[in-house]
Symmetry: D2
Subunit: 276 residues, 4 copies
């Protein structure tokens, strides 16, 4: 019964309707960061009783999803996560979805969301998911690896600042203060003040640095250069190497990380080009 | 240990890093369609042994997610789904996420993906999900309700054309033909030829129109005008009305659908403006 | 000697270089306004000793350029100018430069600038142009004729407000006040206050409305419906009609202007559609 | 009489009308090329009887306008012109118009057009300008100086290829061939063939390279490092240096040009960074 319309909806009309679509392409030869952030995750973390200030299992779940993303999209060379946010770095030359921003952002967000839901049971075997989580996403282009590394440094500094604040805040609340008193105590304090406060409350010297690195430095996920593995066979044991997606909690602000992992941003190529 | 960098990453530097972000806003006072499409769903449907040419449960799952989307985002006034695609219509005046395209598209795609995974068990109690599904998405602006309705008509015509072809194709395959023979048989056939072919293969007059409307017309999901419900109480029974999200399989090409549901696109307002 | 490179710059490399170009297309079926504004025109008007608050010849020159633009770009159906700004309205269906924003804006601005320079002598036969004028431009899409008319109304209201203020300001200055005293006198005054001030300073009742309509209402430039012209020939005189680009100083906020000129926005079509 | 509407057009409505405007910003830290091209210049050059295949005065006029552009916009560090096109390179860090694409493109095109018209008489004292010329423009971002130089190389190769073809074509036409015969003669010929053809027609060995460098290599316009000038004063003569905008006809494909002018793209900084 739709047949008649079918003839009405001729080719020019279909072309007209399609003409409203547009594609915004990410500029070629730039590093693309797809950044996703949890939507209403304050509520989500309360409903699911996440531990404060950091819930290790919730972070491990995020990291596991990030590993899945790197395995699915081979052009993603690095990712960095903290709290309910994750940044995925597409290599400069990537032609993923012909660099169409909508396609790239939406499919990364989509598979991340699916995985989060699928893997939930694995990380929270005793907790039922009460409502589906969701994330928003965006793409940003960075024209050089220096600026890309500045972006990542910014996220790690944010991780540090927020974590230090939140650790103090919840420590004060657990010590019996009201939330608003805790806020007032922290107003205007510097990094050093907060460290001293923690040392005093916990009676531990340099308490902050006893916290797990995942809380303090966030999670870096990338294809690790090589994993040596000994294999037993008839003729004895031999070394074998392969690439796996690693989750590490390291300082990515310091140049040494990038010097030790030149293959991530493929910086050798740049060096070579310079020497010729 | 990140503290030192923290001081280096002063406000101007942070502003500089943020300056690479950009926001593309959808033009105000236009109908926005967020269209999502399954990624690699051909493979996904094979792995999960969906029935061919249409799997009713897979479609019901899609529809259930669409209902969830309308309940979450009150500015979505209509949606239309077929196969692994769904189009969501945001009302013209919507200020959802200040009309930032990335936020709107990514959060709709994200919650749809989460729901699909969460609800899977409800629709496929006996099938394990073997890998997480994902969708891509995009936003398109339509400046008038006429053009919006042309867009929706285009999707419904596509549904019809694809369904008629697929019904014939799988009927031929089930009758013993190879896939390539089936393709050859259908090459160049018109709508009428296909209907006759179906009638002949099934020995039923007008077989195509005996198929479920969901297969032939796709699914329309919207807040239904009013649902009258009789309530028994001590004093007798009274009528009560409320709004619910309905899933219907109707002809949305014909103007009569829109005339009978003027509240969906709020066309009364337009009419009133004209008469003064 | 460039020949060798020519072979190096093969097709893939050329495609790569071209891939950095992008085209931003204006959304179809929307009214496009190209708005141009003089750059550093405050300085330009001082250097060339334009009369204050309005220089009739400078405005006539702007209007003459607008007429030239309408004659060159047939898809421009209306334009409105005030001071050193001009808004050009492209008809909704226009396919000018395939609706590429850059091409449309730059060519309108370019020809306007050329014409301004070429026509200068015609309007200022005794003044030498001391440095080349220039304009910036932008395109904005409006999805309905109501919103387009609201845009034009906004510009005309701005014209009115600015002109009333400037008329008072320069009247005070000419009466012997310093510029900063004049500013102070006007601070916080309403429209009525300003009218009374003018009446008092000039000793004329309702002085403001004795000013030329071009100053008070700005200039509207459009293809006038019909121009009747009597032609003398051997057999007597006959009426003849043709279209010309007219410059009028009328109230475009009031609906009556648009009702009397339905062909400008082609609103008959919309009306017809409504009545069926 | 507009007063009443003024009150209707309150702040929210004005904000609504303004909300349709959008700004597309060019990505920070990238080289921006503003490329302008003559519109209908084939016709313009015929009407004004430009010499074929190259009119030296027309090119000198273009170059003079380019010099004016560099003097007006200090962030433009280099420009390259050929025929009726010109490419202007904005330095990577430029904040001109806050990197708003529309503003940058339109004001460069506008002032170029004004200057072309103003300077016409200087270059064509005996020719009247018969209709105003105009140009379209666009902006493109290049993320590294390597890609920017590839872009410029592409334009210079195009100059060479077109000039070689046009020189042959007009030589054949001047020798008495029809235009279509000349086209046929040239179909499928390689660079070498064309050079031999020219040598034969002109009876000159290596004729092509006797042509003025401006025709063969296009025009490069940039702030020249230093101009030494001897000044006579009482105590003898001393050297003095200053920067001027130079017009040169040089090979910009070869790296030597950029090595000799490192200050143009400020490449010393990059080099230094590499060596540490």
């Amino acid at each position: 019964e739709l047949g008649q319309f079918t003839e009405d909806l001729n080719k020019p009309k279909t072309e007209y309707i399609k003409s409203f679509q547009y594609e915004s392409r990410l500029i070629p030869s730039t590093w693309v960061v797809i950044r996703i952030d949890g939507c209403h995750f304050h509520r989500f973390s309360e409903v699911h009783e996440f531990e404060k200030p950091n819930d290790a299992q919730a972070l491990n779940l995020m990291n596991s999803c990030a590993v899945g993303i790197l395995e699915e999209f081979k052009d993603i060379v690095f990712s960095y996560g903290v709290s309910d946010e994750y940044s995925f770095v597409l290599k400069k030359e990537s032609q993923l979805y012909e660099r169409h921003a909508s396609n790239i952002v939406s499919s990364v967000v989509s598979i991340f969301s699916s995985m989060y839901t699928v893997k939930w049971k694995e990380f929270f075997p005793d907790k039922e998911m009460k409502h589906p989580p969701y994330f928003d996403g965006r793409a940003v282009c960075y024209p050089s690896s220096e600026i890309l590394r500045d972006y990542l440094a910014w996220r790690q500094v944010d991780c540090h600042i927020n974590n230090q604040y939140n650790t103090c805040f919840w420590m004060l609340v657990k010590s019996g203060k009201s939330k608003s008193d805790a806020q007032n105590d922290l107003k205007g304090t510097q990094a050093q003040d907060k460290n001293k406060l923690l040392d005093r409350l916990c009676n531990v010297t340099d308490y902050y640095n006893t916290l797990p690195p995942m809380f303090r430095q966030g999670s870096s996920v990338y294809w690790d250069k090589e994993e040596k593995k000994m294999v037993n066979n008839d003729e004895g044991s031999v070394g074998k190497t392969r690439k796996i997606v690693a989750v590490k909690y390291c300082n990515i602000i310091d140049p040494s990380f990038w010097e030790e992992h030149p293959e991530i941003l493929n910086e050798k190529i740049n060096c070579r080009r310079v020497h010729t």
